[in-house]
Amino acid sequence: MLKLEPRGAPSQAWTLGSPVLALLVTVLIGVLLLSSLGKDPLAGLRMFFWEPINGLDAISELLIKATPLLLIALGLAVCFRSNVWNIGAEGQYVMGAIAGGGVALLATEDSSQWIVVAILCAGAMGGMVWAALVAFLRDRFNANEILTSLMLVYVAVQLLSYLVFGPWKDPHGFNFPQTKTFEDATMIPRLFEGSRVNIGFALALLAVGAVWVFLYRTYAGFAQAVGGMAPAAARFAGFSARKTLWIALLISGGAAGLAGALEVAGPIGQLTPYVPAGYGFAAIIVAFVGRLHPVGMVFSAVLMSMFYIGGELAQSRLGLPKSITGVFQGLLLFTLLACDTLIAYRLVRRRTEV
């Protein structure tokens, strides 16, 4: 019968191969799911994997969707590598959106374009403050960051709801719960003419480089990693556990907040109750599928965006609920975790002992 045997050293091949295998399994299950629902599986495959990259417009939309996912995932990768489980990136994203949106609302017709810088800075700060709360509670009171960061997501969402239903509601908006559309000056500048992709994507790529250098080429990044891998060794080396905690949370909070501000001042253009789109949670999956590696996460962010866009297409063309995206995303993480077993263990056939 088949047994799992520990390997002497982690398998390099499977470290890269596991996400690929996981994707294949997910696709297989997806095909089965679509067939069982009476939908054409080939059409489904096309919608998820071909349409999103078919043409310049499609790729633009893909990159726009990938930007917040990548940004948040970069921050989460630093966190998870430090063994700080920040599950509340969604809340930090919302607070970044609120902060950035708040600054955007201050703009008038004559505001200079530099207000964009203020918006983005406010967004990053908003996310950082919200994450700092989590860090403080863990640092001072030893409260588990998984639960506190998650509870703060619900609080942030309620706060947003209060603002758009209340003090920030657009007086000319026919009583819809939304702020007024932001002035033109606040719009995040486009990267090229003719494409909706904005500088947010460029920022995300810059962040990829910055995080790579931080994790692999700086002493501080090394200290973070050791703190996550072997806390006793970190203590032995003299790395401050407190510093590790704060750096991890501030970086991921800032990244998530920045993503929130970019979305709100970019594609969305106002604050609405629909700002929390689940990117903070999807980014967790992006981080894992990307092996917590900056370059790997570029690919997994694009893959996740394909799932999002494919889901929207499946809704409009196949009549499937949009939540099919969530199903596939969750499934991908599951299969990835299962396939990751092959990195540390090998499958062998053993004679059953009599």
């Binding site: 050293a9 090394f222 009599v354």
Partner: protein
């Protein structure tokens, strides 16, 4: 001779990276105290796990009382009358003694019955124990008694003890031997795993020697000398470490009246600890682990900075509140007893592990990978570390080689003060000799060295002066020439007030 109690023929067990047991034969008679002798890594533990049912052999047969058997799990072993006292206790801290023993027995007896059986058995063999105490309140020696009583309650025909004396004072070892001889006289066979030649000669009437997974000899230890036993165990005489005489220099490390409440509730408080280490001198701290050594070492290394001002001084400078990095800058380096997980990060390469304590290859916060690899390669070569190069992961090295790398990493920093904890625990004899040699060379070059070790033999070999740590206190020091095992044994129980020795 009637039927042997236990007979192993051709037992073989392979793991991915090593053959732990290679065609091993073993024969134990009823009522015999049979030693299994071998250095660390010889395959003794694996063999015992096979006998106890925790591991299945790949080949070979096991016969118990003349009948061939297949021991598939520890419950079957227990049912047959095989009991084991583990080297690393299988106890549950938050449960009571009685509950712990009950868990180790099979269904059928109630907790009340077990509790009274514990008291009876303890009385018969002179092993005092209160069944209602939670295990985490017991000393290490008392914890071992729980293990022994748990084994005895199953009325074993074969009792296996795996390195039982590493946690005992010399006096407690004598008491244990009395218990074992009594058991043997009642017909119970005893398998005694150890690498301590003195003990085997004094206790056992038969011995099987293992090396590298194979049996290299069988003998009657009472008829052998330390030299011949050692020859069987490692294939040669034990390597001698040359200790030159040296005049000690200035006091480099001083601890003054250190008292500290424990950090972890299962730890030990420190009371009025004072000691001094001089340049060119080795001070050894003897003592059974669990008496505050870990706590003291954390204060000395800087991992614990709660000591009051002035308690810890490096060359006269107060470092009580300084962290590990600051102390390293002043020349204090430390080799902890836990290698994987504290001294090195298992999943990182040797080169990266260098960064834990050495920052020569870091420039303005940025890492220089090429310089780092070169630095690591240098240490690997200088200290004879068998590894696949600087990029080899720490977890891929054998225990001895990893320890050589870690010790090498600290010695290469040319420290002014070196603290080492359990320098050769779990390390093969060859590497152990190398490590001890390196420590002595450092001392000869003028470094102040503090060694903490459970192995009294090792301390006697290495130290110029010895102190004993017991219950969070430190004894007065004695010169090596005046040290002897029985006095140290007495002091390990904390009884040094009466005999006052100045070094």
């Amino acid at each position: 001779m009637g039927l042997p109690r236990l007979s192993l023929q051709g037992i073989t067990k392979r793991y991915p990276s090593v053959v732990a047991n290679d065609a091993v034969h073993l024969r134990v008679e009823p009522g015999q105290i049979h030693a299994v002798l071998g250095e660390n890594g010889a395959g003794k533990s694996t063999l015992m796990k096979i006998i106890y049912g925790a591991v299945q052999p790949d080949a070979g047969t096991v016969e118990f009382n003349g009948r061939e058997v297949r021991i598939r799990n520890p419950q079957e072993a227990r049912a047959m009358g095989i009991a084991m006292v583990f080297q690393h206790f299988s106890l549950f801290d938050t449960l009571t003694v009685a509950e712990n023993v009950w868990l180790g027995m099979d269904r059928g007896t109630s907790l009340e019955q077990v509790t009274s059986q514990i008291s009876e058995t303890a009385a018969v063999y002179g092993l005092e124990l209160d069944p209602q105490r939670p295990v985490h309140t017991l000393s290490v020696g008392e914890m071992q008694r729980v293990e022994i009583i748990r084994a005895l309650l199953t009325r074993p025909q074969l009792l296996i003890l795996d390195e039982p004396t590493s946690v005992l004072t010399p006096q407690a070892v004598d008491k244990l031997f009395v218990v074992l001889r009594q058991l043997a006289s009642e017909g119970c066979s005893i398998l005694y795993i150890s690498h301590k030649l003195h003990e085997i000669r004094s206790l056992c009437d038969a011995c099987t020697v293992m090396r590298g997974g194979r049996v290299t000899g069988q003998c009657d230890p009472r008829k052998e000398t330390i030299g011949t036993l050692s020859h069987l165990m490692i294939g040669s005489e034990p390597p001698q470490v040359h200790v030159g005489a040296r005049e000690p220099g200035d006091t480099m490390l001083e601890v003054k009246h250190l008292s500290l409440v424990r950090e972890d509730q299962f730890g030990v408080d420190l009371h009025d600890v004072s000691l001094a280490v001089r340049a060119g001198e080795v001070l050894g701290i003897a003592g059974v682990s669990g008496n505050g050594q870990g706590e003291l070492l954390r204060v000395l290394s800087g991992e614990d900075v709660r000591a009051s001002a002035g308690c810890v001084q490096l060359e006269g400078v107060d470092v009580s509140a300084a962290g590990p990095a600051a102390r390293r800058t002043r020349g204090l380096h430390f080799v902890p007893e836990e290698r994987l997980g504290r001294g090195a990060v298992p999943a990182l390469s040797l080169a990266l592990n260098l960064l834990l304590t050495r920052s020569e290859s870091v420039s303005r916060g940025f890492l220089k990978p090429a310089a780092l690899a070169q630095q690591a390669a240098g240490i690997i070569q200088k200290f004879g570390v068998k590894a696949g190069g600087p990029q080899a992961l720490a977890q891929s090295l054998s225990g001895g080689n990893l320890q050589k790398f870690i010790v090498g990493r600290e010695i290469d920093a040319q420290p002014r003060v070196l603290i080492v904890s359990q320098p050769t625990w779990g390390v093969d004899v060859g590497a152990a000799a190398q490590i001890r040699g390196a420590i002595m060379a450092l001392r000869d070059a003028g470094c102040a060295v503090l060694v903490v070790s459970e192995e009294l033999d090792e301390l006697m070999e290495l130290s110029d002066r010895i102190v004993v740590m017991a219950k969070g206190r430190i004894s007065p020091s004695m010169a090596r020439a005046q040290a002897d095992a029985s006095k140290i044994g007495l002091w390990m129980s904390g009884l040094w007030e009466d005999s006052h020795v100045e070094a």
